[in-house]
């Protein structure tokens, strides 16, 4: 839990510094409003699955065909991402390591962690 908070704080700090830097740059170029909005806007994260506390979040994810989905492991132990039909299979992901797969074909993809098989998830590609 402590690790999570630390990361959050440092991420927030980086974000603040980025805003300040952008603000300074924007003042210089005389286009404060437009640049500030562009920086503050968060990218949509609907194609990300977080592995934390021995579970996939979200457990079920819907994405349009052609979407690249990225799993990132935030646990202190390694996990894998393996689809039941072997469409995709990651190596063991250590802490903060990630795995990506691009879903081209619509369908429902069930997957699990082959190290801790109680961990299951589902990607629905429309």
């Amino acid at each position: 839990m402590r690790r999570w908070k630390t990361k959050k704080n440092s991420a927030a700090n980086v974000f603040r510094i980025a805003i300040l830097a952008t603000a300074a740059l924007s003042l210089a170029s005389g286009a404060l409003g437009r640049r500030f909005v562009a920086t503050a806007e968060e990218k949509p994260k609907s194609n990300a699955v977080t592995i934390d506390n021995f579970s996939f979040a979200p457990m079920q994810l819907e994405v349009p065909a052609g979407t690249q989905v990225t799993w990132i492991n935030k646990d202190d132990v390694p996990h894998t991402v393996v689809s039941l039909d072997h469409t995709f299979k990651s190596r063991a992901l250590d802490t903060d390591e990630s795995f990506s797969f691009t879903f081209q074909t619509p369908g429902t993809y069930e997957y699990f962690c082959s190290v801790h098989p109680k961990m299951t998830g589902r990607i629905i590609v429309k």
Partner: protein
């Protein structure tokens, strides 16, 4: 406390104080007595509290588990160090164990250098031989090939095996391969068939010791702490008078006695895990440094015969 003998009542080179000091670190292990062909086990703490001193007997062995070489996070950034401490404790025993069982998760990430460190560290153990079974952390990316090449010599294709020592039959099982989505540990039909044949030739009076990584009893299925087809394996062992099952995986000691079968899990030498259901997940338990060593350990098992031992059985039961 100085390490010297204060009371050596049995002239065996170990006094109660020294024994307690050593065993307090080892945690609640299992102490087994082989009496008239029947293996009986007791919590090691009970034996210690009864001031029994020397546990030397016909056969003693030590169980190591969950060394997780390569793990470097809280609460233990130095798992190689704590493994070496465990080895030093075993080497300090007045009688070296006949052999050592390692019940898996030698490494954290199945990396060659992690296997190297584990093997190099265990070379200093004063014992005749070390027997291994893999944990799920030892078979991560190559279906267990590296583990089996280095630690599985003389085993069946799937890595399981058995051997006999002093009239007891030891069986090493593999339940971390081909795990199924939503499931628990898995032995598989090929291994079950082998097990049935392996014990078919034995007399029912033969003491049986089974060791595998994931518990062969349902400790806490919600966290995957159990084995899907363990009941079938245990059904082959029902006719035996004495069966002891030694597991790791859950990084804490736990014991259950069911009929003729005693189940025991060992501590990790690396990091503790929460008690079943006492946390959001079974991830490493973060404890203050000064409390870490009390939650790590090894299991010491002794088979003892003789008059002196009979007295132990009476007082313990």
């Amino acid at each position: 406390m100085p390490d010297h003998i204060q009371e050596n009542l049995d002239h065996d080179g170990v006094d109660r104080r020294g024994f307690l000091k050593c065993m307090a670190w080892a945690g609640t292990g299992t102490f087994c007595l082989l009496q008239g062909g029947v293996l009986k086990s007791f919590a090691l703490t009970d034996v210690i509290q009864k001031n029994l001193g020397n546990l030397g007997g016909d056969l003693s062995f030590v169980q190591f588990s969950d060394s997780h070489i390569g793990f470097n996070k809280p609460a233990n950034p130095d798992v190689t160090g704590t493994l070496r401490e465990a080895i030093a404790k075993v080497n300090a025993l007045p009688t070296p164990p006949s052999f050592v069982l390692h019940t898996g998760d030698l490494t954290h990430l199945s990396k060659p250098e992690e296997f190297d460190t584990l093997a190099e560290s265990l070379k200093s153990l004063k014992t005749e031989r070390i027997f291994y079974v893999p944990g799920e952390h030892d078979v991560l990316n190559d279906n267990g090939q590296a583990f089996h090449e280095r630690f599985g010599q003389g085993t069946q294709d799937g890595g399981w095996y058995s051997f006999d020592q002093k009239g007891a039959h030891f069986i090493g099982l593999v339940n971390v391969m081909n795990l199924k989505a939503g499931g628990l540990g898995n032995l598989g039909s090929t291994q079950l068939e082998w097990l049935e044949k392996d014990v078919a030739k034995l007399k029912s009076s033969t003491p049986i010791v089974v060791f595998a990584h994931i518990p062969l009893w349902s400790v806490y299925p919600q966290w995957g702490w159990g084995t899907d087809d363990s009941e079938q394996a245990l059904s082959y062992l029902k006719r035996f008078g004495s069966v002891t099952v030694l597991n790791g995986h859950i990084h804490q000691t736990m014991q259950k006695i069911e009929g003729n079968i005693t189940f025991h899990t060992a501590c990790s030498t690396a990091f503790p895990q929460p008690q079943p259901g006492q946390a959001d997940s079974p991830g490493p338990l973060k404890v203050p440094t000064e409390k870490l060593r009390a939650l790590l350990g090894i299991t010491d098992v002794s088979f003892v015969r003789g008059k002196h031992t009979l007295a132990i059985v009476d007082s313990s039961l």
